[in-house]
Symmetry: D2
Subunit: 346 residues, 4 copies
């Protein structure tokens, strides 16, 4: 028998499945243009389905009588996969680069609170060699009673900070109705962890002409993160930076648990750059440096950290922001480790 | 000493905090109009802060030097809390009710696939005594390659099904830009689990004049669910139904783990009705009835279940939909248990 | 080609696997007496391995060059599986029964604190129709500074309570060196959640001649629970009662999250009786009744609840123990629901 | 008012608590020799309890009428805490050291399979500069059908490997009845993740005169790990090495999720050395080096890795063992990073 493709799916029939039930599954596969390769057995017959991935994914095989398990053999993503494109993607914004041997050092305030705080922070991080400036204009907050960001006013302040420092700007988009305002100002559009599964928003930035920094959802698997990136790339925007920012676990000593293993796993699965956000993972300033060092050592393509001139007065995430005055030391520790790892700040 | 309020926050200073650090915290609290009640100690000084909840929540106390922990004493939600309104809220749509002794039996297809499937299902569930009709027009899907729902065409079909059966319509809203179309057709607007933290969308339905069915996020705590409801109610819409639909755990035998304890906990915390979605929790048809029975026995105000005329042909969630032909038996089991619990289908 | 068995394992080779790597896997399978069924493909070759489960499980196939995934097709347990023994097991101790249509109502103090408290509780639960008496002599405690149980002295008190009430006794074994003392006194030996993976202890009770009540580990999957039961049964003791007692999740409103779906899933997978511990799951007295009702409605074969004459004086788990004076009402609610479900207290 | 201690506990009364209920709590605290500091309030009265930690921990305050929450202010561990002993503990075995600026490089086979494999691996790791030899004699296995280790025969082989290489020996103890045999042979006694809450075993090694390597439970918090260490130290053995080895999360790309943040958190909380096991965390050989590098960069005091002469023939954990031939390169990468971090192999 000539098998010309490899199975996309393995369908394991239950021990009690009848011959008719096996035939029904085969018939449905063939109806969908797929080839069915049956391995009959005493206990469990296994059917390999060979065909177009999209067509097979759409078949409701788990609902068929006699079907016990449907095991996908191939990865559900393709455009973002390293198999498709073995060379690492380098993403550029205003001449700064992330990916391959360029390490991105993105720093700035959690939130734009006012002009002085933002400009002061921007100057400090630029002076210490950061490669991009981060800053929140629209803030997703768990409570409707806490500060929600300055919105469009913040975008104006951030644009001024970019003007002065030359650093490209990373800022978050939360609502598809703000897409124009954010895309106009931002150099890199951030999609926050709470919006990783906001599929309308993903499709929207997939049509934008700016790179996207996509954060992993608070309890998303890496496969789900890659699928979210696939949503963006499928719409035409292949400039996506993935960001590990900590996941929910039972541990309470830190705000989230930084999944450091995500870095080598993602680097193996995808050609997209992978960065780490140690500030949100830790939620505690004293852990930001050890986690940032671990990120570099694990092979990350960059980090994104929060910096504030006076963290104890911050309106948001004060406990995890690094004082601007200490950022220089922080940056040189990172630079030394990058150098050992064969990287340069991009 | 006259204490006129009770502490909203307890601030535990670290063992090494200096007197100046304690004074700084007190000064900042008083600056914000709060009263600070200091309990000095050999190891850890504790400061109770008495004042306006919103003002205190905005203070970045965790970032202050010498502060070890900030413990909130009061719940972060208030409009949805049972303390504010001890009597249970009853929510009505086209004469059908959910809450107090009215049990909501919401049933219908996962997704509107075509006119026949939808009308057939609607008739079956109406005939068996369902009190509302569910059906998806816009579907959030993890993969960009799977069926995303028929969109506005589905809304027209659902409206026809309502016309014929008289059942009020529950359908999901995913994108703030669809709000008009969905609000025009739906009797109850569903916010899906993946959008529980989509704060723009929550605010949007908070301004709509239709009840909202709010599903718990896949790894959200009950407090986070109540805060999401608070977002909606704060905008003026107090007609919110909460829905437990299973959370992510390590267990793989079911798609999600139904948190049955969420029912009595939520009933105690809030005046809003609390329903259960056994179909999405289980992901397997054979578990839907036992989970639905458990929901009634635990005191839920309703259930929402998926029904399909031929689940093995469903384009979405086939394995968990109940065949329309079996819904009558299902409904009578639920009715018997409701009756033991002192409830009637609303 | 004559295939005489069904595959136990599917070995998915990576896209880059060479022909030699495929041949090596096949050779190793055949060396182990298994038959290898190769489905070659453009992207991923799949090898089905047909042979003795134990032999295949021992092969380190995941370590072979070119192997991408090893997918087990059959369940790893067999002695406890319903496929082996389709009829439900009924477990008897001193004439009381659990399983099939006998519902076990096990009640008693968390811990034996002193003679009076234990006897008083035993009388109250016996009078209200409990079918077995629980009580802890050895207590696993997270802190070395808290009360660890009265040990052998408690066993003597429990034996007296049994003498007086006639109720069979359920008590926990924690240390293989106490096995004789506990087995001598207990009618049912409890293995606590923290010892579910204490494989030496499991083997030990597998050699005892008393039924075993095996609690699910705090973050164990149902498959892991069934494997733990398999350890016991494999040593010759097939009288095992499984107990769902709540798992760790992110939710903090309850002590643990009762996985109510575990009941129908386990009932389907195994012939062993399945009971629920609502007291430890909830950690709060007010949730014990709703969770207990949910357990009955979901099809559990019994519940095990904590009762104390004066919970506010309890040395352990005070907040979750039901006052002895309220147990009669509790028991009659359970009895009414059992009756609707076609069960009788065994 | 003279407050002579700091509160150990804060007891938050519910909004509806009566004056009598407050008085009852105060009376019970004073009965236990504690001082009660009451902060009355409009909504929630808070009682600070000042007294002996052990006495307060034993009080069942959560069960008292009117009590809403009991918040412990001080850490539940003390002997292991850095507050008690600010200087880092250095642990020595046969002249090799772990802690402070000594980095432990522990390597060896997952399991002793036979003499040749063990001696060959021991020679390879010794030649590349490992500081200790690991090897399993007794293996905790989820399935009763898989290889359980060679037991005492393995101890003899390990002793021979130590004799030849001079490396101190780390091996696991699973059963209190093997304590003599293991303590006689081992230089460091390992307590595995599945036994972290086996309190009898912890007390047992607390009485042994050998250092203990204590692994974090699969879903244990860091506080629970520190409490387990407290069990050991309380019995008199203060030579405990803590080991982060990955925790269960929703992620499936790796076997466990390495909680890299555990390293800086533990280093801050305790004076005990903290090491990392990248092999068990990853479950995949290709991730062991990046995770090991991250551990060094995060400040770990050592790593423990699995090495095998021919991983594809290993009887256990083949996929995660590093080939002995590649260990030299591995060790030099670790050494280079240690040097940047100011550490030497101990």
């Amino acid at each position: 028998m000539a098998v010309t493709g490899s199975p996309e799916l393995l369908i394991v029939m239950s021990a009690h499945a009848t011959g008719d039930e096996v035939d029904d599954v085969v018939a449905r596969l063939e109806e969908a243009g797929a080839h069915a390769h049956v391995t009959p057995g005493r206990e469990a017959t296994v059917i390999g389905a060979i065909g177009e991935r999209e067509l097979l994914a759409a078949l409701p095989l788990e609902g068929f009588p006699g079907v016990d398990q449907v095991l996908p053999i191939l990865k559900p993503y393709k455009l973002v996969s390293r198999e498709l494109r073995p060379d690492p993607t380098v993403i550029e914004a205003r001449g700064r680069r992330i990916g391959d041997h360029y390490f991105g050092l993105i720093a700035g305030p959690c939130t734009v609170e006012h002009r002085t705080q933002t400009l002061e922070t921007a100057r400090a991080v630029a002076a210490s060699g950061a490669s991009m400036l981060r800053g929140g204009a629209f803030k997703p907050r768990t409570s409707p009673y806490t500060f929600q960001g300055l919105g469009e006013e913040a975008l104006t302040i951030l644009a001024e900070a970019r003007e002065e420092t030359g650093l490209p700007l990373v800022t978050e988009l939360m609502d598809p109705r703000h897409v124009e305002a954010v895309v106009d100002t931002a150099d890199v559009i951030q999609i926050g962890a709470r919006n990783m599964s906001n599929f309308s928003l993903l499709a929207e930035v997939g049509r934008a002409r700016k790179p996207v920094l996509l954060k992993r959802g608070l309890s998303a698997t890496l496969e789900e993160l890659l699928m979210a990136a696939e949503y963006v790339v499928k719409e035409g925007n292949s400039r996506v930076i993935l960001c590990e920012r900590g996941i929910k676990t039972f541990e309470t000593a830190m705000r989230f648990t930084l999944d450091i293993g995500a870095v080598p796993v993602l680097k193996q699965e995808t050609h997209l750059p992978v960065i780490v956000d140690p500030s949100h993972a830790a939620g505690r300033r004293d852990l930001v440096l050890p986690l940032a060092r671990a990120a570099v050592a694990a092979g990350a393509d960059g980090i994104i950290v929060e910096v504030h001139p006076a963290p104890e007065e911050a309106l948001c995430d004060g406990p995890q922001q690094i004082p601007a005055a200490e950022f220089e030391d922080f940056a040189s520790e990172i630079r030394a480790l990058c150098s050992l790892m064969g990287r340069v700040i991009g």
